[in-house]
């Protein structure tokens, strides 16, 4: 239910949405939607999965912070402190 969201968890979730993507080549500052070919539904499912795994309520006004891997990591590091 509520587990810490580290980089590995983020990649795990993204892999379930875009299994074909090359995660080794993904840079931390890259736009996830562009790099992984996520459409708006994929992106929404990404955020929902993050919420389910972390147990943290994510207001939609925070979605823009989830555009990059670094952004997502920073968000949860901040939340869990």
């Amino acid at each position: 239910m509520s587990e810490p969201i580290d980089k590995q968890t983020i990649i795990e979730i993204l892999t379930s949405l875009a299994p074909e993507a090359d995660f080794a080549a993904l840079r931390g500052d890259e736009d996830l939607r562009e790099a992984l070919d996520l459409d708006s539904m994929d992106f929404m499912n990404f955020v929902i999965a993050l919420h389910e795994r972390s147990g943290i309520d994510i207001p939609e006004s925070d979605y823009p912070k989830f555009r990059t891997l670094n952004g997502v990591s920073a968000y949860f590091t901040g939340q869990q402190r």
Partner: protein, 595 residues
Amino acid sequence: MESATVSRPIRQAVIEKDRALFSRQPNLTDYAAVRANFDWSSARTMLDGLPGGQGLNIAHEAIDRHARGRRADRVALRWLGKAGARRELTYRDLQRATNRFANALSGLGVAAGEAVFVLLGRVPELYIAVLGALKAKCVASPLFSAFGPEPIATRLDIGAGKVLVTTEVLYRRKVEALRPRLPNLGQVILIDDGPPIAGTVRWSALMMAASEEFVIPSTGPEDMALLHFTSGTTGRPKGAIHVHEAVVTHHVTGLYALDLHDDDIFWCTADPGWVTGTSYGIIAPLTHGVTTLVVEEEFDAQTWYGVLAAERVTVWYTAPTAIRMMMKLGAEAVRGYDLGALRFMASVGEPLNPEAVVWGVEAFGQPFHDNWWQTETGGIMIANFLALPVKPGSMGLPLPGIDAAIVERTSDGGVRVIDEPMVQGELALKAGWPSMMRGYLHEEERFRKCFVGPWYLTGDLAKRDADGYFWFVGRADDVIKSSGHLIGPFEVESTLMEHPAVAEAGVIGKPDPMAGEIVKAFVALKPGYAESEGLRRELLGHARRHLGAAVAPKEIDFRANLPKTRSGKIMRRLLKARELGLPEGDISSLESDER
């Protein structure tokens, strides 16, 4: 034809309009009078035609006639790029750039009538390429840049694409490997700069060498102008042919359905890879000489509110999926933005649910105006109008010049018009408006099947109420409507079938509160393969790699066997009914059941 279903009573209150509140006089106030006095040949006089009686060309109406008049220095295209980039092209700038591109095409040996495909995000070059191709009398076909290699290859092949305009990244990722399959594709133009790549030319080099003077050659109104692909239940995608005369409908619908006025700042959020993004993201606003906004970034509610406020957008044409996502964020999120300039909001792509129409009033102080049309119709056919009452959940009333009816097919192959209100049937339009498709490319039989007597049959099931408002019910076929885009189940099934593990695939649209429907696939595996999460992901990855995110399934379920008819056809309707827990209906043709 399915029998009439029980009609749900309409409980949403009608939204009446207080005409005193309009900041300017709407273009259509007396619906009955405008309809009665309207005819398409008079409407044609709203446009100029090519100088010297040389015919009718979309690009002349969209650009050249403004570039030589009082609008020459008005911003035609305001582009907001990612990461804050911004570029403006006046009508004069746009004229010069499109002239150069038209000349560049001639320089490459591309002839009138040949197809110029564009595979780009929403960047200025897309608009220049499409309009420049129209000037050169080429057939323009914009493709959605989120398509994977398979949809791209299929469409380039059907359309015999001679030229493709794209970026280096998209070319490397999606096109390069396809080249051997595309013998017609003579030229690939890359819009970015970089070292030479075999088989491609660079946009900047081409444009620099081309003259900015160009005279549009004589163009017949029936000359082919645009090729838009749409999906059917079976077979390959269909290339709907549109001609230069379509611009009459684009202009008239811009006038009445979108209420465009001379000083508007217009924003159509659709991508030109879909018909809305071309008819209303490129052509209609330009024929009206207004400033049209192009936003490169994908949907993000707060970014969009920021754009609406900062750019003083007056007329906004968007889509249900985006509106529903904004609804989730809540009306409070809109409060901080000054949207005082916004005077009209319209939506298209799939039926806008009544709650979303009403939410417009709560969040923006005005309802969203739903309208209806499809790739084949080329322009808006049925709409909720600014000055008229809105019935939330209804697609509205037919445009002036458009006769719509609810019909049922009769046993002798004809159709009967259903006059009784709120009885379900197929939505039909009286053929003959200027932007009606002129054919499906190389598919004469499929084209002819769309017409019975005087009627074009839309494939959509609908009802009409006693006031003449139309209500969408569903598709008559198995085509999937996801985020406003039509997806053919066959295209998805074919790709899944190419995977060595897959024996059978059936693809349906599963209702979804955000997207309308999502693509869901059921697959049966070949002997020797066992279902597993790993294989599910492999199939998903396979589909995404070949089809792209917009077309690939969002869900894949395994079955031991899929329900089939005697002839081996997978019964998608049954898969769907079971997925939704609905009655299975007539299953007399079922031969081999699902396991």
